[in-house]
Symmetry: D2
Subunit: 353 residues, 4 copies
């Protein structure tokens, strides 16, 4: 980079020729400049930059998960990048504060120039949803249409690639299902745990819990432990994740202090954090839309607000990891791990010592 | 305070003898201390302190609004205190991050000691709802019961007082309805605005809008302007606020730059901000509950999560102020204000000059 | 925009052809891709977008302040845009969380490709400083050089324009100095206030305050009230703002509830908020640099961290508005305003009524 | 808890009889109620509650670190509790927004009733500083006095206990120093690393780096590697941490992907995060004080603001961990780990397989 000033180098390095000239206010072009249109443009450009960053992180995370065996050393960068995605979404949620300084009147004044362009047309965000694991059939239709019709060619390819390969959801399911410790030599986690649940529930009879409730309690756990019951629960829409994955997630959650499980437990926490942050972002978006254009009160019609509120509840991807919390039992009722299994779940140096 | 050290003075001033001795871990008392119970206790104590502060601010705000005529000088403290309530709720939303560090397993381990106590039993929060204007009949039943049955005597009195007097919602409605400029000498805002809407819609015929749509467009505005249509809309649950209040809020929103309207516009913005923040707080609470105890997946039962999600959508109080955004028309279609009216809406000194 | 899909329209409207292709990882170009370089690039691109937005808001705010008389109706958009700048800086402070997810090792691995480019070379940020009112002579030298040497031509022009016209600081000083109520007909605020200060201090003798302290107390206020003392204080670097501006700012602060002062008081608050947020942003930047590259411990050399810490303390622009807090006296010692002055400071309609 | 309503149970459980009756406004007691005094009281009570929580977390963390060997399973709760302390400090920083809504005039109006009580007298905060490792001799004197003179008896005991035992700083130093892998059988990390540094620097001669700079570069690293040089650096105030601890921290930072180092690396990150957040909190506190009572401009006197700004820079505890960033070398220059060492740093199950 010789011969160039520091300023030139920074300018070129950051691509500022492109970045700082990409704002065209339609209202100004049409001779009626509306001040706040600039904010609207730049706000969404910032979004798109962060979405690109999130996709870039997902590329790396998903590449690491695509191995037959995820290297334990990969857990470190995977957790770092997931933590980064979490921080980015946290920032995206907070950014809404900036756009909310726009008076609805101002939005109305330049809205006519937007054509049909709107924040709903971010293909990068929809690609993030696809890559994370939101399925086509689980989507709320966008104003009656498919979420991806008439896509631009480059986006179409990215969507096809995403749908043609494993989503992060799929990868997590596969990775969890391979957890070796759940079924280790003579140790069968599901048998141990089922027994512990039964013991606990049986003892609750002494505290006045009815036989029916105890039976129901036991049955509930079978939707994780029994393959047929689990299949039925999936058909009923109560679970999405495979039974082996759920069992492993439960095992990891319960025995999270074992060295080999500390990373996987954090991974599950990060997934839960990201899922919850996307949900918060959707909700902030719904509130913003309500503030800017109302919610159709007085008209009875459907609206952007209603669509977004539906996605808040229905476009969650990792609900199953939240639901697992109702399958934990108190610490004093948990079955102990065999010492041999514990040994294999800790570091090599402790055995050497 | 002579004779006391600085430390004593601070300690006494802040009531630390009470504050720092008010934490009794039931799990410890029962011989089975669970570390995270302390966080659960202190977290809710912080909530209750902030709720007390919010009620204290509402006392002052509502006292000022209870006059027949709100002194223009009162606008300054009212806005300051509303801004403060907003910052407090913003903090309450962020605080969820702290409680989310608690593993669901830990919660389960001390949950048995809570009895039926839960965050749902904050009478101060329900009093805030009452004081803001959430009506008894608009509430989602809490697990089948009335929201205030079996209240403690002191809370009962506060609830009765709140229900026996005007809520902030009522006060805002009354205060808006008294806005003198909406109907000033010969000037009638509703007539001017209706005419502007009709002009705008009639012109849209040239851009291919159908006659039916134009008729529907005109009819929509009558739910604000026509007393009978508005009554019907209230019965249909489409509006809650009185027609004169809605008209004034619309007037303030449109002509927000006139000096006498700058404060009232900010007031409406603060109300909208607080309403949206409470909604976000409810949503974060729902996500926290889902994370800690699941959402009943696999059981089909109703749950705390579902109750909270219902309140997110239904326990909004100031929806009407959000909805007004769909009654604004573009700046170039707005009727101009008569100069005489503008003069009376500005400061005395400009006329003197 | 006919014939184009929604996706096309959004893509073109947001300039995504430029925005999403402006990332060139030098490490990749040199055959040694370092994953985290993408974050570094995009992070600064987001910064530059927000800086552009801030400058765009300043354009509008400064245009309104450039009139001989600022229209009272302009107060509304000015406050809105200042509030927006505040929210943007709040977001910039929070964004540091994202970059802090980058391990120092990763930064080191692509740092060699940056040449001399660094965040210190954001001409937009320096232009913001200039536009707000940071003077050339008050700047800490950047590693021994002038802050603007070797600027690119377009930046040079913007810097020259900014230095050749009034900064926001200058405009605020001028605008404050013109406040008519400080010297209104027979009313002289400085005389009234000086008398009130003297009364208060004289009475403090009864509570054991020494004559010397009382004399010193009175003298302190003369640096605002007495032209010569104020000139000396400016030479001593104790004040920057003109005496009439300081007097008006004090007047506004004290009588902030008078309708005509409510907007100006908010303006002062916004300026203070923005100044404090920029300071926080500088401090977060310093902490980030310390985390990424250390602070020269063990070497004794100067460093980016030290430079940034110096700017945290020295590059403040509106310190005087913070300092005014030590010139307020208790409410019960404040002189009352004449009724005639109060009348002129309220709205026209109250006189009409 | 039988016979009690849910409300009673929550009320008792949360100690609300104490919490909600601990606010005594002195201004009201003296017949001159100042509204904002309530905010001042409650704000600090919330602080004290969170400080109690932080101390409670430190109790647990420090108990785990007090073992001769920290159990690898303890890393999980230690990291959880450190993460929680981080979230609490993040919340404390954000809380400043609430207190900043108080006009300086209001503060002045009740400040006279505070006596000498001020936020500077939080013994819990100073105890947190002690427990983390801020040394008596490193403290800025508080207005000329010792930071702990005239302490109340209970606080005195807590301070003595803290000073009489290892601080978290001490414990981290000890724990790092025990890291077995730095000196493992034939492997000597410092020798490997010194060689790598020398190789890297020697090669830099080809890129025009001068012999003097290369010599200086090599010498810099000796302050970590050479015991005498390190002793001198400690005397010069350039380092505080022991050489073995610094070496281990460097080892962990560099080889953070090895399974056994993933937890320790996160631990170092958490410590850095907490240190930086406390620094931010101090800085926000300084800005708040400047806003509320000025900074002595025009008086030349020292002030609360100046004291606080001094603590921002001088009361850092874990600076050494930040400084380590300037001792990292690029990934391609790092010495590889022997396979045997890598094996011992991974999980037992991988060897079994």
């Amino acid at each position: 980079m010789t011969g160039k000033t520091n300023w030139d180098q920074y300018h070129e390095y950051e691509g500022l020729d492109k970045i700082l000239t990409a704002q065209k206010m339609r209202s100004a072009e049409e001779g009626n400049p509306v001040h706040d249109e600039m904010l609207f443009i730049i706000f969404h450009q910032v979004y798109e930059l962060w979405f690109k960053q999130i996709l870039f992180e997902l590329d790396d995370i998903q590449r690491r998960f695509s191995s037959n065996v995820v290297d334990d050393r990969d857990m470190q960068p995977i957790l770092t990048y997931l933590g980064r995605i979490e921080k980015i979404f946290r920032n995206l949620v907070g950014m809404m504060d900036v756009l909310e300084t726009m008076p609805p009147q101002s939005f109305l004044d330049f809205r006519r120039y937007l054509g049909t362009a709107s924040g709903f047309q971010s293909w990068q965000f929809r690609l993030i949803e696809l890559r994370l694991g939101l399925r086509r059939e689980d989507r709320i239709p966008v104003f009656g249409g498919e979420f991806d019709e008439d896509l631009r060619a480059e986006s179409r390819k990215a969507f096809n690639d995403a749908e043609g390969s494993a989503s992060l959801y799929d990868q997590i399911d596969t990775w969890l299902s391979r957890t070796p410790f759940v079924d280790w030599q003579d140790y069968k986690f599901t048998e141990q745990y089922r027994q512990a649940v039964h013991n606990m529930l049986d003892q609750s009879a002494q505290h006045g819990v009815s036989a029916d409730d105890i039976t129901r309690g036991k049955a509930k756990f079978e939707s994780i432990f029994d393959a047929d019951k689990h299949d039925q629960a999936i058909k009923d829409g109560l679970w999405r994740m495979s039974a082996p994955a759920l069992q492993a997630a439960l095992f990891i959650t319960i025995y999270r202090e074992e060295p080999v499980l500390q990373g996987p437990y954090r991974l599950l926490q990060h997934i839960i954090d990201v899922d919850a942050l996307i949900a918060q972002w959707r909700y902030r978006h719904a509130l913003l839309v309500q503030r800017m254009v109302g919610m159709g009160a007085g008209t009875g019609g459907s609206s952007g607000y209603n669509y977004l509120m539906d996605t808040v509840q229905k476009h969650r991807i990792f609900n199953d990891l939240f639901s697992l919390s109702s399958y934990i039992i108190p610490s004093d009722a948990l079955p102990a791990l065999p010492q041999q299994l514990k040994d294999t779940m800790t570091y090599g140096y402790t055995k050497a010592a």
